[in-house]
């Protein structure tokens, strides 16, 4: 397949220098006439887990939407896998996306495997039906997130944590190279959060994924992210968890004191390393 070759060629081989998979340069974006992102510049290397933090209303979700091409920036350049959002439209099956909330009716008549199969829609293409390989990919993704045995269960009957894992399975059942996750652990209890993050870290390693994880929970990202980007409309910091969480500029971004988080965050990051 032409598109597959193009993306396969883009990624580095063994021993080669990792490529830049996401590149944003001086991005300005607005929603309903209000500027929500001002001059955001950063890049994500292949295989990196980038945590994006910032207070509510900082523009984190808009940032993901800009990367996906759902929000057109007023100014600046976006390149994903070396492609502009227009070119990327034909390569979206390499990007797994999990929105902040999926507002669905709990009685919606679909099972877990039906929901995961939705993720294959762009791989299958219009006017075509799911093949045996699509069904196999769905079964593998469900197994990878630990939901085997629940394939036929209606999605509305799953717990919050299980639903999040089902949506993660939907995001990885494509030919996924990049995962964009918007507050995926919001609303989960600590045990479910831990399980989700452990699962995500394992999948990242096994599948060689690049992950952009948006959260306002600094503690979670301090432990799992390779790099942290802190934004609050403008860009405040981009660096390792130790650098960002130990910095005075974090307080500036959140406009509040962070003694607890800075102490714990930097310590934990150091221990994990």
């Amino acid at each position: 397949m032409k598109s597959e070759c193009r993306v396969s060629d883009f990624f580095s081989g063994p021993g080669e220098t990792p490529r830049t998979v996401i590149e944003l340069e001086d991005i300005w974006a607005s929603l309903a006439g209000h500027t929500v992102l001002e001059g955001i510049t950063f890049s994500v290397e292949e295989g990196v887990f980038l945590g994006v933090i910032g207070p509510n209303g900082a523009g984190k979700t808009t940032l993901i939407r800009v990367i996906l091409g759902l929000v057109k920036p007023d100014r600046g350049k976006v390149l994903v896998m070396g492609m502009s959002p227009r070119e990327l439209h034909h390569e979206l099956h390499h990007i797994g996306y999990m929105p902040q909330t999926v507002l669905f009716d709990p009685s919606f008549p679909v099972s877990v495997s039906d929901v995961v199969m939705m993720g294959r829609a762009c791989c299958i293409g219009p006017l075509r039906f799911a093949s045996r390989s699509d069904r196999r990919a769905v079964a593998e993704s469900i197994r990878a997130v630990g939901l085997s045995g629940l394939e036929k269960r209606p999605i509305g009957e799953l717990s919050g944590g299980q639903q999040k894992r089902a949506f993660l399975a939907r995001a990885i059942c494509l030919e996924t190279r990049i995962l964009l996750l918007d507050e995926p652990t919001a609303g989960l209890d600590i045990e479910s959060q831990e399980r989700f993050m452990g699962l995500l870290t394992r999948l990242k390693e096994e599948m060689g994924l690049s992950v952009l994880f948006v959260s306002h929970d600094v503690n979670v990202l301090a432990r799992f992210a390779d790099e942290i980007l802190c934004i609050n409309r403008t860009m405040h910091m981009h660096g390792s968890p130790q650098e960002v969480l130990g910095s005075e500029r974090l307080k500036e971004a959140y406009r509040c004191e962070f003694d607890f988080l800075v102490g714990e965050g930097s310590g934990m990051a150091g221990e994990d390393a």
Partner: protein, 280 residues
């Protein structure tokens, strides 16, 4: 008997074609909560029929064009104009009805022909009508089958569907236009006033009796076909209006589905209680 006459055979064939289309689209109407969209488009058809009557053109053609325009208008105004779908429907539906009333009054056309559009006239179908019904229904059903996975993704989670490259605009407008076409072909069966029932009741019965979309579609289709066939036979037997009879039959089928619904558990509770009573 109904089937001994040519008009009865045509009514049954036409009715079953309409039932198939309505029952299929009814699934999406229910899961995306578009019942009011159906009401809006069907009542707007009155404006289209009035244009046809006043202009001396076949009212089905003008109603068809008008319904597609209204359906597109609902989609465009709610998306681009950032208005809620129900607000747009409330406005367009009332304006179209009002236009219809004014046009009909000006042309002094309150007659039997107009009443047949309001309440249906399935027994007046000729074979050409049946062929037109079949072609339009085939178009709608083909769209629903070919874009089924995209439609399902869109109605479940529009945000992720858009991010995954699903052509949501095509799918959304396609669904609205399919509803408009389905409504126009169904006007002959039950009329403008009752047509929305055909778009809502089969899917509602399906949702009561099944927890998966495959089962919902099978139940929806079966109940639509049974409801239309039974309604036509009963109406010819007791000599009452066929459209209203079909809707009433479907309504009773819905009540039965409510009682039997495993989700509600009325039957299980009743069985348990009667078991306890007999044990005592």
């Amino acid at each position: 008997m109904l089937l001994s006459y040519g008009f009865g055979q045509r009514a049954l064939v036409g009715g079953l074609i309409i039932a198939t289309t309505c029952s299929f689209i009814s699934f999406f109407v229910i899961v995306r909560r578009m019942a009011f969209v159906g009401m809006g488009i069907s009542h707007a058809a009155f404006g289209g029929v009035a244009i046809g009557i006043v202009a001396g053109v076949n009212p089905v053609l003008t109603a068809g064009g008008f319904c597609v325009l209204v359906a597109g208008g609902i989609g465009w105004l709610s998306r681009k104009g950032r208005l809620h779908e129900d607000t747009v429907i409330g406005i367009l539906f009332a304006a179209s009805m009002a236009m219809g009333v004014v046009l009909v009054r000006m042309a002094n056309a309150y007659n039997l022909d107009l009443m047949s559009y309001l309440f249906g006239s399935i027994l007046a179908l000729n074979w050409t009508d049946v062929i037109i019904l079949a072609v339009l229904s085939a178009l709608v059903i083909s769209f629903l089958i070919l874009f089924f996975k995209e439609l399902l993704f869109f109605v479940f989670d529009e945000e992720t569907a858009t991010a995954s490259g699903v052509p949501v605009r095509l799918v959304y407008y396609g669904l609205l236009i399919s509803m408009a076409i389905t409504i126009v072909v169904s006007i002959k069966l039950v009329g403008i006033i009752l047509v929305s029932a055909l778009l809502v009741i089969p899917g509602a019965i399906g949702i009561q009796l099944s927890g998966n979309y495959r089962g919902v579609l099978v139940v929806s289709l079966s109940s639509g076909l049974i409801g239309v066939a039974a309604g036509l036979f009963i109406s010819s037997w007791v000599d009452v209006a066929s459209g209203a009879t079909i809707v009433l039959v479907m309504f009773f089928m819905f009540l039965l589905a409510l009682a039997l619904s495993p989700k509600r558990g009325y039957m299980q509770r009743w069985r348990r209680r009667s078991g306890q009573a007999s044990a005592n």
